[in-house]
Amino acid sequence: MTDAPLLEVADLTLRFGGMTAIDQVSFSVDPGELFAVIGPNGAGKTSIFNCLSGVYRPQAGSMRFGGEELRGRRPDNIARLGMARMFQNIELFENLTVLENLMLGRHQHLRYGTLSALVYAGRAKRSEIENRRVVEDIIDFLEIEAIRRSLVGMLPYGLKKRVELGRALAMAPRLLLLDEPVAGMNVEETEDMARFILDIRTELGVTMIMVEHDMGLVMDIADRVLVLDFGQHIALGPPGQVQSDPAVIKAYLGEAS
C-alpha cells in the first residue's frame, strides 16, 4: 500500500457530443509527489480535473484513488475520499467571509446532526470550535489573519486565490488539485504562491497535481510533468526530460507560430 501510487488514471476518455476532450490518457501519481499537467489551450487539462473531482462523467477508462474507483461517484463523495481542488476561475463563495469559506472546507470534518445544529449546544458547538481552531492554523499558515472577517467578494484577486488554496487545505486532503494557481498574478504574488505550494508539500506532505501555464514555475517545482495536446498524451517525465522532447516542442511551437 505504501509503495502503490495514490492515483492511477488509465485510458481516461471524455467526449462532448462529437468532440473528444480527453483521449485515452493514462498516468499515475505517487504519494507526496508534485505532479504537473501542461499543454496548450484546449488540451483537456481542466477536463481531467473535472473528471477526477466528479463534475464530468468520462465515457471510458478508470481513475483509482487510494484503491477506490472514482468513476460514477458524485463530487461530494470524491471530496470525502480526500480530494481537494482549486479552480481555474475562482469559485469561492463570495457572499461569505474568509472564515466561513474556510469552515466550508471543513464541512466533512464537522460531525453533528441537524437537531444538534438547531440547538447549537453540546456536540455542534464543540465541533465548531475544534474545527475553527484548525481553520485558524491555516489562516496563520497562509498569513491572511487580517482579512479573516472580510467578505470574499471584496478581496483582490491574489488574496482570493490564497483563500481558495486555504479552503482546499482546510479539507485536509490527501490529493490537492491546483488549476492554474498563479494565472493572472504578478511576479511577487507568483513567488508567494510557489512558496506556499512548496511548504504544503514539505510541511504537510500533501500530494498535488498542478495544471499551469507558467512554464517557469512548472519546471522549477514539479517532480514530473504530463504534456497533453488536443486531449492526447504527448509526453510524461521529469521536467528536464519533457522540455527537450521533440513532440512537446512541436506542440508548443505549433501553437506559437
Binding site: K125, E130, D140
Partner: protein
C-alpha cells in the same frame, strides 16, 4: 509551529491540542471581556455566540421586554395583528431558509402551510358529521403540524433537487395548484371547497388558550394569551433557525446557493442539502399555517394559493434575503403595512373608503403598494429592510465623520 491539518482530518473528532490562533478551549470560557473592546474575543465560543456584542444583547433584551409589555397597551385587534406578525415571521424564516439561504426558489410555501393547518385540524380539531378530528392537545398537534409537512417536503425534495432555478419555481407553483385541488376534494379532512372546517382547538397542556385569564389582577383576553403563546413559539423557532444558519448546514446552504458545483467539490452533498432545506422549510411553513388559522378562525381549501406564497416571498424580499432578522422585519412590514394604509386612507384624498368610488379603494391601494414596494426594494435595495438597517447603523457608527 506545525499544522495539524492531517491529524485532525484522520482523527475526525480529535481535538488538535495546543493549536495557535489564540483560542482557549470551550471548557474554560472566560466570562469577562476586555472592557470597551466589544470586537475583541478571548475565545472562539464568545466569537461564535449569537449575541456576540453587548449592543446586540442590550437591543435584544429591550425588544423582548417591549414585546412582552405591548399587549397591555394595545387594543385587541392590534394584539391580534402582532400575533400575525409572529406567525408570518415563522413562515418567512422557513421560506428564507430555503429560498434566501439555500437559493431554491419556492412558490410552494402556501401548500406546506395548508398541510400544517390541516394536520393540526385533524389531530387537534373536533370531529363532526362532516370532518374528522381527534381532539388532541396542542402539545401533540403543533409538532405534528410541522412534522407532516416536513415529511411531505422530504418526499417532494428528490424531484425538486433535480431541477434548477426558475424550473423549480414553477414546479413548486404546481404543488400549490395540485395541493389546492387535493384540499378541495379531501372533504373528510378539509370540509371541502366553500365550506371549510374549524381549526384545531387551542388547548395547550389542558389549558384552553381561547379563554380569559387573570394574571396579577390583569385580565388577559384570548388575543393576549394567544399573542404570548405565538411569541414563545416564534422565539424558539427563530433562535433555532439562527443556530442552523451559523452551523455547517447554514454554510452548506449558502454554498449550494452561490456555486453548487464548487460546493459539491468541497464535499457538500447537493441532494442532501437541498432535501434538508426543503424539509426544514416545510416544517416552519406547517407550524405557521397551523397557527395562522387559529388567528383566522377557519380553515378553507382556497386560502393556500399562489397569493399567499407571494406574500411570503414579499416577506423575505422586503425584509432581507438570507437573514433571520430580515424575515422578522419583512413579516412586520407585510402584516402591518395594509393596516397603516387603511389608517392613512382618510387623510389621502384620492382613496375611497366607500365602495365603488374614488380612484382606488383602500384594498387596491394596499395591494398596489405591496407590488410597487417589491419592485422598488429589488431595484434599489436588494438587501431589503435589513440592508436599510445596516446602512443606518453604519452611518450612525461613523457619525460625525460620515461624509
Amino acid at each position: 509551529m506545525s499544522l495539524q491539518v492531517d491529524g485532525a482530518a484522520r482523527g475526525g473528532a480529535d481535538v488538535p491540542s495546543g493549536g495557535g490562533g489564540g483560542g482557549d478551549g470551550a471548557r474554560r470560557r472566560p466570562r469577562s471581556r476586555v472592557r470597551g473592546r466589544p470586537q475583541l474575543y478571548t475565545s472562539y465560543a464568545a466569537d461564535q455566540a449569537i449575541w456576540n456584542t453587548p449592543a446586540k444583547r442590550a437591543w435584544t433584551l429591550a425588544l423582548v421586554a417591549a414585546v412582552l409589555v405591548l399587549p397591555f397597551l394595545l387594543s385587541r385587534d392590534l394584539t391580534s395583528l402582532l400575533t400575525t406578525v409572529f406567525i408570518f415571521a415563522i413562515g418567512g424564516i422557513g421560506l428564507n431558509l430555503i429560498t434566501g439561504y439555500a437559493g431554491q426558489v419556492s412558490l410552494g410555501h402556501a401548500f406546506f402551510m395548508g398541510l400544517g393547518a390541516y394536520t393540526a385540524a385533524v389531530f387537534g380539531g373536533e370531529s363532526t358529521d362532516r370532518v374528522v378530528g381527534l381532539g388532541l392537545d396542542m402539545a401533540i398537534w403543533l409538532p405534528l403540524a410541522g412534522i407532516v409537512p416536513a415529511v411531505v417536503g422530504l418526499v417532494v425534495a428528490p424531484l425538486a433537487a433535480r431541477v434548477r432555478g426558475l424550473y423549480l419555481a414553477i414546479l413548486t407553483l404546481g404543488l400549490v395548484f395540485i395541493g389546492e385541488h387535493v384540499f378541495k376534494e379531501a372533504r373528510s379532512i378539509t370540509g371541502g371547497a366553500g365550506v371549510g372546517r374549524a381549526p384545531a382547538e387551542p388547548v395547550l397542556f389542558g389549558v384552553d388558550l381561547s379563554g380569559r385569564y387573570h394574571l396579577f389582577g390583569y385580565i388577559l383576553s384570548r388575543e393576549d394569551v394567544f399573542y404570548f403563546v405565538c411569541f414563545a413559539i416564534f422565539l424558539v423557532m427563530a433562535i433555532a433557525a439562527r443556530n442552523l444558519t451559523r452551523s455547517k448546514l447554514g454554510r452548506a446552504f449558502a454554498a449550494v446557493r452561490d456555486r453548487d458545483v464548487a460546493a459539491a467539490v468541497m464535499g457538500v452533498s447537493l441532494r442532501r442539502t437541498k432535501t434538508l432545506a426543503f424539509t426544514i422549510s416545510s416544517f416552519y411553513a406547517g407550524i405557521a399555517g397551523a397557527l395562522l388559522v387559529l388567528v383566522i378562525g377557519r380553515v378553507t381549501p382556497t386560502s393556500w394559493n399562489l397569493f399567499l406564497s407571494i406574500d411570503f416571498l414579499a416577506v423575505i424580499l422586503i425584509g432581507g434575503i438570507a437573514t433571520i432578522s430580515g424575515s422578522i422585519l419583512g413579516a412586520m412590514f407585510v402584516v402591518l403595512m395594509p393596516r397603516l394604509v387603511s389608517e392613512l386612507a382618510d387623510v389621502v384624498p384620492f382613496i375611497s373608503t366607500s365602495p365603488g368610488t374614488g380612484v382606488f379603494s383602500v384594498f387596491q391601494l394596499q395591494t398596489m403598494l405591496f407590488g410597487a414596494l417589491i419592485v422598488l426594494f429589488l431595484v434599489l435595495e436588494p438587501r431589503g429592510l435589513y440592508g436599510l438597517w445596516v446602512r443606518a447603523r453604519n452611518y450612525w457608527k461613523a457619525w460625525p465623520f460620515s461624509h
